[in-house]
Symmetry: C2
Subunit: 370 residues, 2 copies
């Protein structure tokens, strides 16, 4: 499964895997794709350094990438404390009441909330970049908006391709103007932050909008048939995130979140502002229901919402409070019904892709094999 | 472009075209697809008879089909007047106020509202069926739920395949249990009544759910690339509706609605209950905004909403009141940028399909041509 972009990156399959877990990223690259480590949760540079060292040692010399979150709108000189002060007391009370209602225990004294909003702030993203540029990453992706010009320049000086996620052709064109190299067209059905346009419509629209830049299709892809469909739409590869949440290499292995993911159907996600303040697809839970309830206080804008709920989400995760326990994930969760190794997922994707190509050739009246 | 289903129906391309316009249905069948006439607006049996006669005379002996709307839940012995009486006065006032605000003129004395709710009611659908079974239709589709057992039986006795639209695997399985022959998997991005699951995820899910029944993919399909993608997902054909709204054969030709459709982007639709009381994708207008406004009265459940707004919609259409003027249409509207003949659309679809198959073969490392 080779496109111009996969050849340029020297990978065997045009499959890009986004994951917050170093072991999964390395396994994706070893399997012939491009593993892309999500950096958002690394607030301490040393933690990121440690995990990139680990990837370097475990990737068998294959290329890999890093995904950072630099919001498009830069907020100069605003600290986390400034943002904290903007959160209304009623919202804090709603968080406390909801946690109390479900009997969610508190964290121990001095125990840090695992997932912090700080990863969303530009200073942190820049610190992550300073670390990352010390490693031979091949791709730098930005999940929110176009990266700043100096970051693009620095990446290009080091031979690093820059990718950015887009939920509309308009966003994609802005990325192209910012000088990036690859657009990830993220459809409505994708996990995490998404727009309203579904992959079937979005992918070719973005391909046309940024031609000749290569486009990766994201959203709704978890089988070889779906890989074939995405490539039929003009993509030069696929960008998969959700699918790796239930692999055996993931840190989530055998946790309550994984059990919920394995049990969920494609209709069990919701595009909610509960997590960050911007619409992000995730498992629908009693937690998202509480925030989306028209009789509740509603969500706050980014970055307030993420800061407001960070500790609560950590507590829910730590104590595995099932009714409230969720995770960002796409509609493809309906297909994620067993825990498999990354290699087994790749075998399934590539075999399914070949079968889909056989079938489309039969439909087109061509011989199925060369 | 041949699948088992297209062979069974004796059509050249596995392209099914749903349209409310007889001239478009006939042109689709003549071009080698299967034209399917939407019957919902035919409240008078003679009108339907006249138009089916016309299709018979203009279809060059090619097969065609009919689409009726029989709600899954049967309401016994309820007349239109009974339903009228259930509409709150405040909602009627909101309609009147909104029309007055935009200066929408009234209809002339005795002038019938064009699109009436009655087409949704079972008596009317059954009258449509009595007419339709007098013609050599090859496919009978039901847009809301599974058709009643006696209708399926009668269709099968006449050698008519029965299709039903489904927005989830669960609905598709119910259709299969009801004995239908073809499931149309209608994705989130489609025009008209849709569920939440996007085509990329829904199509293979429905294919697996009803195997070995054939599945048609609907939603987001307007190019040969998208046809190739849908067929890659396991569909035995594609079901297109929106794309025919702007063909030169359509009754809408050169109207204000067509101008709005040609100008709209993929982000200019909304899934709103404004039209019928169930979520249906349509052009976003100041009319849909008024109904979706949290400060407004909100929509009524089906069939009340459709009955409530029928006359208003007719007036908006007749006088082409631009800010309020809409139509059901899918996200593919972003690709509908010129008025072309049905044959030109088919040429584009089949040529684009061949190119997409060439490309996927190159990516798979196979020779592009047999």
């Amino acid at each position: 499964m080779q496109t111009e972009l996969s050849k340029q990156l020297g990978i065997e399959h045009a499959i890009f895997g986004f994951t917050p877990f170093p072991a999964v990223a390395a396994a994706i690259s070893r399997a012939g794709g491009l593993g892309v480590l999500g950096a958002v949760r690394y607030t301490a540079p040393d933690d990121l350094r440690r995990d990139l060292d680990w990837i370097e040692a475990n990737v068998d010399g294959r290329p890999y990438g890093l995904d950072v979150v630099m919001p498009a709108k830069k907020v100069e000189g605003v600290s986390e404390a400034d943002v904290e002060a903007m959160i209304p007391e009623g919202h804090r009370q709603f968080v406390a009441d909801t946690l109390a209602k479900y009997g969610v225990p508190g964290l121990a004294e001095g125990e840090a909330a695992g997932w912090r909003i700080t990863g969303w702030m530009e200073e942190v993203a820049r610190t992550q970049l300073d670390v990352a540029f010390g490693y031979p990453i091949r791709l730098l992706a930005n999940a929110l908006g176009s990266p700043p010009a100096d970051v693009v320049r620095r990446a290009h000086e080091q031979g690093v391709l820059v990718a950015a996620l887009a939920g509309s052709a308009r966003h994609a064109r802005k990325h192209a103007e910012a000088g990036i190299d690859v657009v990830v067209a993220q459809g409505y059905e994708a996990g995490g932050h998404t727009g309203e346009i579904a992959s079937m419509v979005l992918t070719p629209e973005v391909v046309d909008a940024v031609d000749p830049l290569p486009v990766l299709a994201a959203g709704g892809i978890g089988s070889g048939q779906q890989v074939a469909a995405a490539l039929s739409l003009g993509a030069q590869g696929v960008w998969l995130g959700s699918l790796w949440l239930t692999v055996t290499e993931a840190d989530l292995h055998s946790t309550a979140v994984t059990r919920k993911l394995l049990a969920a159907g494609s209709g069990d996600t919701v595009r909610s502002r509960a997590l960050t303040g911007k619409p992000a697809r995730q498992l629908r839970t009693e937690w998202t229901d509480a925030w989306d309830d028209p009789h509740g206080p509603g969500t706050l804008p980014m970055p307030l919402q993420g800061l407001l709920v960070a500790e609560a989400v950590s507590r829910i995760q730590k104590y595995e409070v099932e009714p409230l326990l969720g995770t960002p994930v796409g509609q493809i969760v309906g297909r994620m019904n067993s825990e498999r190794s990354v290699q087994a997922v790749f075998d399934d994707l590539t075999r399914g892709f070949e079968h889909a190509v056989d079938r489309i050739n039969r439909i087109a009246g061509r011989s199925a094999r060369p």
